[in-house]
């Protein structure tokens, strides 16, 4: 029997008191696409960083082609034919493609012959894999999809036989994902081995031949992809059965309660990020905003929630103008008028991570009865309330005195959600509600949003997860370069159609 190209035995790794990997065993066969799936924080990235030599395991052994190797730094891994495309690209933005690729493997002290040779070799590689990359382009001028290709090219140039990709599709449009998968399949047919780390079940089913599942730092199962299903994998990931589809009632659309007219907004660098946007939301409706990150969704939500100044245009709530370039209501006044906001950057804007859970649970209402009286906090009331909502929102662990940063992403989001939904808002602005949130919590959060809609709230949902937009929204708008480039009723819309709009080509 042929030994696997990569074999991990009893890998352990701790960061302080947190054990990120526990006795991990894994075999990856040559020429396969092997999926590693697990929720955020399951330890997938840590494990692969160990294989790439970036972290050192506390114990365990790594074999390549049956030979035990000691990986002290990424250099050792690269020499042994391991390449990794990280979730956050490891590129120097103001360098050219060529400079980024040769970095660390220049082959000469003073640039000259070898540089020329590298260029020729790379052009050859580009042709072989049909990459279409200009080697002299500066990284900051390239789209995310191209940057990813540069990362792949970099690994191939350095002689990778095993290519690890960490959550490669998170930042891509569906079309870019198609392109990427095409590349990965062609790499496989060239005999390369690919390890795909993801939390998206559909990618595993689409692309891989074998899959390993991780949960809370442990490897909980290996299987051939053809022998399993999405439902089964989800259950392995979470440890219980999960509902993957959102149950949604027929829409009961009310009157328009939130309206945005010709809105333009600038960012901190004085660049116009939202351009002449018009939209309306009715009560009982979820309006989804699809788009690749950085196309103005952030600034739009900030302006609507009163955090960012309106450059021109106006915002109306119940027919009353609440903001234009001269006047605007601050978030507190907006809250009193029935507008709630779940910000997309949970850590920075949604919570004060160093505060205790109960403090975050009432923040913004802390000066109102019953939480305080004559400017003095009423701890008994607060604790009582906290216990109640933590039960109701299934926040785990249910300890109001725990520092917020010790909760998982999903539980932090539940804390925010409970606070924002508590007063039954009429309008709810939600940004990336499930970013970095585990499947179990996603199910819960989605259900809460649907409940709010059924109770008659008008919800604006911005998300870069197309699946989320498609499963929750009644109507979908697509933002590209600050403008709304398309609007669709969510009936028979495909992610491909939206993808074209998101890329600005349709």
């Amino acid at each position: 029997m042929v030994s696997p190209i990569l074999e991990l035995t009893d890998i352990n790794k701790s960061f302080g008191h947190v054990q990120a990997n526990k006795n991990i065993n894994l075999k990856i066969n040559k020429g396969t696409i092997h999926g590693i799936i697990g929720e955020n924080g399951a330890g997938k990235s840590t494990l692969m960083s160990i294989v790439f030599g970036l972290y050192q395991a506390n114990s365990g052994s790594i074999k390549i082609n049956g030979k035990e190797i000691n990986l002290r730094s990424p250099r050792d891994s690269i020499i042994n034919g391991i390449g990794m495309v990280h979730q956050h690209f490891m590129l120097v933005e103001n360098f050219t493609v060529l400079e980024n690729i040769i970095l660390g493997f220049e082959g000469e002290t003073v640039f000259g012959e070898k540089l020329q040779k590298a260029k020729e070799d790379l052009e050859q590689l580009c042709q072989t894999y049909n990459f279409n990359i200009d080697l002299d382009a500066t990284i900051s001028d390239l789209s995310v999809g191209f940057r990813q290709r540069v990362e792949i090219l970099k690994s191939l140039y350095r002689g990778a036989e095993i290519l690890i990709l960490d959550e490669p599709t998170g930042v891509l449009t569906p079309q870019e994902v198609d392109e990427l998968f095409k590349i990965l399949r062609s790499l496989k047919s060239e005999g390369k081995t690919i390890v795909l780390i993801t939390h998206k079940l559909i990618e595993i089913m689409d692309l891989t031949s074998e899959v390993s599942v991780m949960r809370q730092g442990e490897m909980v199962g290996h299987t051939k992809t053809e022998d399993t299903s999405k439902e089964q994998l989800a259950e392995m990931m979470v440890g219980r059965s999960v509902l993957l589809r959102v149950d949604k009632k027929e829409i009961k659309k009310g009157e328009t309660i939130f309206k945005v007219n010709n809105l333009s907004v600038k960012d901190d660098l004085d660049v116009t990020r939202v351009k002449d946007v018009n939209l309306e939301i009715c009560s009982g409706e979820i309006l989804g905003i699809a788009g690749v990150t950085g196309n103005g969704q952030t600034e739009l939500l900030e302006a609507l929630s009163g955090i960012r100044k309106v450059e021109s245009g106006s915002i109306e709530l119940f027919g009353e103008k609440i903001s234009d370039q001269n006047n605007f209501l601050n978030p507190r006044m907006l809250k009193e008028k029935g507008l709630a906001h779940v910000p997309e950057d949970r850590q920075r804007m949604g919570l004060i991570s160093d505060f205790k859970a109960h403090e975050n649970l009432i923040f913004g209402y802390h000066d109102q009865e019953p939480y305080s009286k004559s400017a003095i906090l009423n701890n008994k009331e607060i604790t009582e309330y906290s216990n109640k909502v933590m039960q109701e929102y299934d926040v785990r662990p249910k300890s109001p005195n725990l520092i917020t940063s010790n909760f998982s992403g999903g539980n932090q989001q539940k804390i925010i959600l409970s606070r924002e939904l508590n007063e039954n808002p009429k309008v709810l602005l939600v940004g990336q509600p499930t970013r970095g949130v585990d499947i179990g919590a996603i199910e819960f959060i989605h259900q809460r949003l649907i409940d709010m809609r059924d109770k008659g709230a008008a919800i604006l949902l911005a998300s870069v997860e197309l699946d989320e937009i498609l499963s929750l929204s009644d109507r979908i708008i697509v933002m590209f370069d600050g403008k709304i480039v398309g609007e669709k009723e969510n009936k028979n819309v495909t992610d491909r159609e939206l993808g074209l709009l998101m890329a600005g080509v349709a």
Partner: protein
């Protein structure tokens, strides 16, 4: 003709005055391109001046004094690295600590060794660097223009002046034409990219700081063993900060940093030239105002023109590999 020789002497002193600034700015480029802030140029320059003067006094050879200054400055740079690279301390705090330490240390050591606080004995001709007169300088002096250019501007400088201006193309070449330079720039922009390319981020930053130490030693030695013949208290007089400003004004690029250094040197030369001179219509400008010129210029330039200077992306951030 007098006007021409005035200009010549102004250019001559601009070149001389800019010399320590150029060394310090080049030193700063290495540290900051690697992602380490270096406010301690000032302190290191002062220390180099002290060590060079003392070393030269005891060893009788200015080159040995310079060598000692280089060793000490590299050690100080390593100290900065130990605090801010290895132990991920705040880089500015580490620099300020070094600067304060050195002001006190040089004063105290001079008092202990020579009985005078912050003053070292005067060096004789063998113990200091002398002006270099280029060949044929006297013969060519009378040829119009070329003579002035060669004899009055190019000739008659201390060795450091020539070395400073030679260092600029050398630094440019290292930073932009070698693999070391590529790694240096990368480590200041995105250390993770360097780490994942299999290069040790910490080693790179230490190497950059070592070069920084060597270069800054030249600036200090120039002050105490060339233009002056001894060390005196706080003789660096803010040149380290001025050089830092020049480097930022020059956008961390050797060529533009050189221009900024020359600009500062020129205003300083001009203020010396203008002292006591009656200007038409204005009259005599108060000395204090003239002396403040280079500093006013620094503030104006930094506040007004460098608004868009883009620093290396990772500057000031210790590299943390594991969460």
């Amino acid at each position: 003709m007098e006007f021409l020789s005035d200009i010549a002497s102004l250019i001559n002193s601009t070149l001389r005055i800019s010399t320590p600034l150029v060394f310090a700015a080049m030193a700063g480029i290495f540290a900051e391109r690697s992602g380490v802030i270096d406010f301690s140029l000032e302190g290191k320059m002062l220390m180099a001046a002290f060590v060079a003067a003392v070393g030269s006094y005891y060893l009788g050879n200015p080159w040995l004094g310079l060598l000692l200054a280089i060793i000490v400055c590299v050690c100080l740079s390593m100290l900065h690295g130990f605090a801010s690279v290895t132990h991920k301390g705040d880089q500015v705090v580490s620099c300020v600590a070094i600067n304060i330490l050195i002001i006190g240390l040089t004063t105290a050591l001079a008092a202990a060794w020579f009985g005078q606080a912050g003053l070292t004995p005067t060096l004789n001709e063998d113990q200091r660097f002398l002006e270099i007169h280029l060949p044929f300088a006297d013969v060519l002096r009378d040829i119009p223009v070329i003579g002035t250019l060669y004899s009055d501007i190019l000739s008659g400088h201390y060795v450091f002046v020539y070395l400073a201006y030679l260092s600029v193309p050398l630094v440019f070449w290292i930073v932009f034409k070698t693999s070391f330079g590529l790694r240096l720039r990368a480590v200041g922009e995105n250390p993770s990219a360097v780490d994942t390319a299999g290069i040790n981020v910490f080693t790179m930053r230490y190497k950059a700081l070592a070069i920084n130490g060597v270069l800054i030693a030249f600036a200090g030695a120039h002050l105490s063993t060339a233009v002056n013949a001894n060390f005196f208290r706080e003789m660096s007089a803010g040149r380290g900060y001025l050089a830092l400003a020049a480097m930022i004004f020059g956008k961390w690029h050797p060529k533009t940093a050189l221009i900024a250094c020359l600009l500062f040197g020129f205003t300083d030369a001009l203020q010396i030239r203008l002292q006591g001179v009656e200007l038409p219509a204005i009259g005599e400008i108060p000395v204090q105002l003239i002396q403040a010129l280079p500093y006013i210029l620094t503030v104006v330039l930094l506040a007004g023109f460098v608004g868009k200077a883009i620093a290396p992306n990772a500057i000031g951030q210790p590299y943390i590999k594991e969460r």
